[in-house]
Symmetry: C2
Subunit: 354 residues, 2 copies
């Protein structure tokens, strides 16, 4: 069984999000009935298929720390999907990405609405502005869903600092990512640091901490969970980097080689450049970040990443980090059923199929 | 004495913001020392001169409902300045505005940094992306400042729904504003509705409610405060519309006639268009929203707004709304010293000088 489906979690997260959004509809309607497209867009974005990885780590962090299975904690964990929606919607505006999860990116959706309605002004500008506001709204709604989850006030009070730290690290990591692209020649070390803040901590370690903090776990427990969550998060991010270059569009929801067209300075690319000869380096410099890069160009870059041994080294790093996470998991005191699921989640989050 | 300075409020809000931002510096530094410019930018943005209008209404809402003067409530009220910073930074990205408060807009500041450092890629794109992330960070920090203000948990719990509603209305209002520009021919009614959600409720009514809710005020009290805050907020917004067309750049911090170049569909413009003849209408349609509109073009539009009687009608509406707010203020049971300051604030927020 897919560990993400344990305790029917994926289904319950979807229901919690749907219930929250239905509750928002009359509120938006009371402001103006013209807000319908905004509500629909968020619903389409959130209620489609999703791995619900962050809610899963939050929920199992709660269970690991001795919390019982309740709908309230599932609702609280679901708020992370709204936070993630904000991050992705704004990220797509910043990158000018066309698609997300196989659908048009939020700014493209609103540009298309503008064009379809033949409104005044620039459709692209309208799309970007609407997407900025919808991202803001998701960030606010994430908060509201957490606060109205029905969790006891004391539990929320304990989780709030973790939640704040996670959100600040997320935005700081996104800025470091921008800076990395702007500086051009990223080192392996700096690429890994960006990945740590932008994704690793925020996808696994912090959701796990949040669940544990909701259950009243102390600082020592959180450190033990980090020994599992942090290397696992980095392995997850490295897997994501590999999929961004070699992944199947059918499962990633993005065109093949999209990270290469975006010019992402991942550890994978940085590793290839440390080994590449002058001719290979010239090819990378020419192709990386070219938004119109052909399938042939993507293939050339892939060949270099393989030939330099960068892919093998990243695969080895993923295995090593995952093993380290699993060893820490085995050593930490926690509820046994949660330990079992966290082990399966570690494998699911870093395997080639995700 | 300026009512905004009563109880040294302006000074204390500045200090609360400075203390919060100093506390964030080591946190950002621990992530990466390259985050310095981000920290500096928020500090420059927040710690310069500011009217601190929203914290003032929040604080006096608290006092009106019987709360005592404490540093904790001033800190909680200061969080509204971080929320406002998010709104303005994102608004300037959406409008492509060059300046804010007489300084370069946030996205321009980061475009200049990119250009000055001769980084890779497009400076304007980098500036916009950085500004989106800094706006997000301010939205998150607003929350954190409120939650760590030292206010009792029960007070925060009571204020949270008001805070959430305010934030949702703000973003919805911004979207309605976009839509209003996209639809082109705004009616007076729709322009007033945009102004209500984007500014009126969010500047006065909701901050007042937030302060009162922190002090434990019930639903009935909030309704009474709305009878003052809502018409006053609308009067404030209409004054802002007038200043956007006729204001002195030295006091508005924006170039003269900037709202006309941005093509803002304010009630002032909508009123002028309901009365304008065909020749005047043609001039408005040609000039409104022209980013390169000359001083002469601005003068032509101003003349039409005056000649159609729109300016006089808006001034009359401002007086009428302010009088209605003041009558409600006199009728509501509240602490007498707060009533006095709220009366002075009403006049300050809607007078020609603000």
């Amino acid at each position: 069984m897919d560990p993400l489906d344990r305790d029917d979690l994926r289904d319950r997260v979807g229901k919690a999000l749907a219930a929250f959004l239905s509750g928002q509809a009359p509120r938006l309607d009371a402001i103006s009935e013209t807000l319908g497209p905004l509500q629909d867009a968020v619903a389409d974005y959130l209620l489609g298929a999703g791995k619900r990885l962050r809610p899963a780590f939050c929920y199992w962090g709660w269970r690991a720390a001795g919390g019982a299975d309740t709908d309230e904690v599932v609702t609280a964990a679901s708020s992370l999907e709204l936070l993630q929606a904000c991050a992705l919607i704004h990220d797509d505006v910043m990158d000018g990405s066309d698609t997300r999860r196989g659908q048009p990116a939020m700014h493209r959706r609103f540009a298309a609405l503008h064009r379809g309605e033949d409104w005044h002004g620039d459709p692209e500008g309208f799309g970007r502005s609407a997407a900025i506001l919808i991202g803001d709204l998701c960030l606010i709604w994430a908060d509201e869903l957490l606060n109205t989850s029905g969790m006891p006030a004391e539990a929320l009070r304990q989780a709030q600092p973790v939640y704040d730290e996670m959100r600040v690290e997320l935005m700081a990591g996104q800025y470091l990512d921008l800076l990395e692209q702007a500086l051009g020649g990223g080192t392996v070390e700096s690429a890994l640091r960006v990945a740590r803040y932008k994704a690793a901590k925020y996808t696994i370690e912090k959701p796990l901490h949040m669940g544990a903090a909701l259950a009243g776990a102390g600082a020592e427990d959180l450190v033990r969970y980090s020994a599992y969550g942090l290397p696992l998060g980095e392995a997850f991010q490295l897997r994501d980097d590999v999929l961004g270059v070699f992944g199947d569009p059918a499962s990633t929801g993005k065109p093949a080689g999209d990270d290469l067209r975006e010019g992402k300075r991942t550890a994978l690319v940085a590793l290839a450049l440390t080994v590449a000869g002058p001719a290979e380096t010239a090819v990378v410099r020419r192709h990386l970040g070219d938004p119109h890069l052909s399938a042939d160009g993507v293939e050339q870059l892939r060949d270099i990443i393989v030939a330099t041994g960068a892919l093998d080294r990243v695969e080895a790093l993923i295995s090593e980090l995952t093993d380290r996470a699993l060893a820490a998991l085995r050593a930490a005191p926690m509820e046994e059923d949660a330990r079992g699921v966290l082990e399966e989640l570690a494998i699911a989050a870093t395997s080639r199929a995700v």
